[in-house]
Subunit: 221 residues, 2 copies
DNA sequence: CCTGCTAATGATCGTACGATCAATATAAAC
DNA sequence: GTTTATATTGATCGTACGATCATTAGCAGG
């Protein structure tokens, strides 16, 4: 950076992609109060160039939201959760490994938290998506594993949803500690996820049995 | 606020307390990027007055950290956790009810998260406090409840700590959903805490039994 | 090699914001 | 009521930051 970097002329598509990519990393690190000049400097371009591609800073931010949160959800995850050829424990472990790899990244976690603190609706919408596509299917599978009635015969209770949230919270909080608090965490993520599913699934099965008044027996999980 | 509010002259102690109090609420709401002018306006004072009490904005922020995080930890909580006159389940429920009431408030949760995202060391220090004063005592009590050896005979494993974190994470995440994502949560907090402790404690006991190779029997919890 | 299109830049504008300071007014002391 | 100490204010400074625009220069087409 000592000598003035030679001016490079990219196609609009390339440049836009580069800006969005850099913005995701930049805003994830410093928050949306980060300055456009500093972002530009990190990208090796001038600040006014940003405004050729995004009319305002807010437009760029919304593009970052889109890029990070839209399309990271993979429909095959839903199929995985419901695939009764595998034991539920295995399905949950496989799901959370995939989810951690694709969704719970440094950028995702931090931008998600910044968005929440900024009062964006994004998080509420994401939580609704999660309840519909993950937690309710998980509760349904827990019902099955516990030998309890299907949800269409006995509605899923708030407590069962909270039990499913506990599984999710345990995984999520691991990444909050890692990427937000920068605390030491168990280094073996795969082992952590397996153990976490074991612990939290036990509790969820117990909740469901209690709710559905299924006699307490060892179910085939 | 239509007519100019009459100038009121408070004792330095009163005014300082008022500013700190207002700053906690203000920064919890909008983050530390919030403007001193707006804070002053909410307090009904002029912006330069802030600078009579705090040399810089950063000094005020650090005072807010102090006020919120120092001294909210109550030593009697540690006594409660270790009081074997009560069943462990009851102790944990009582602790988390008290902790939620005194620590996991709107201001606390949001300032804690803002501080984490800003890269403050505060959170790491708090996590260390929590491990030493809460999680390790909890693990010790779980050992006792599970009929497993005391920590001085068999060191507490990383997995046991993570299991204790799961109890904590489940309670904590409830408040993150409530105060950061502003999502709907189970309205009956007392019931939520009781159920959460039930679910997560089961898993933690199982982890400890597995680790300590205690034959799987129904322990007196 | 020349030409034209437009990606990219440098200079700059307006405002917001942290911070400062001399001037003012309030409450306590007598 | 008068005086005095100081809490509080109004005016203002310097800079940072989002945004704008005329100018410059890289690359494709001929």
């Amino acid at each position: 950076m000592t000598a003035a970097a030679k001016r490079r002329r990219l196609s609009p598509e390339e440049r836009e992609a580069q800006i969005v990519d850099g913005a995701i990393r930049f805003f994830a690190e410093v928050g949306f109060a980060g300055q456009t000049r500093e972002l530009a400097q990190r990208l090796g371009i001038t600040q006014p160039l940003l405004y050729r591609y995004f009319p305002t800073k807010q437009d760029l931010i919304e593009r970052v939201y889109e890029e990070v949160f839209i399309g990271r959800w993979k429909p095959e995850w839903e199929a995985l959760i419901s695939d009764r050829a595998l034991p539920l424990r295995e399905r949950l472990i496989a799901f959370y490994r995939a989810y951690a790899a694709d969704a719970l990244t440094y950028e995702w976690i931090r931008i998600y938290m910044f968005a929440g603190l900024a009062g964006e609706n994004l998080n509420r919408r994401y939580i609704e998506l999660l309840e519909g596509r993950l937690l309710i299917p998980v509760c349904t599978e827990i019902r099955h594993a516990a030998g309890a009635p299907r949800p269409d015969r006995l509605p899923i209770s708030g407590l069962e949803i909270e039990a499913a949230w506990n599984i999710h919270a345990a995984v999520f909080y691991y990444f909050v500690r890692k990427f937000i608090y920068r605390a030491r965490v168990e280094p073996d993520l795969a082992a952590y996820i397996a153990d976490t599913v074991d612990r939290t699934l036990d509790g969820a099965l117990a909740v469901t049995r209690r709710w559905a008044e299924v006699p307490c027996r060892k179910a085939a999980v």
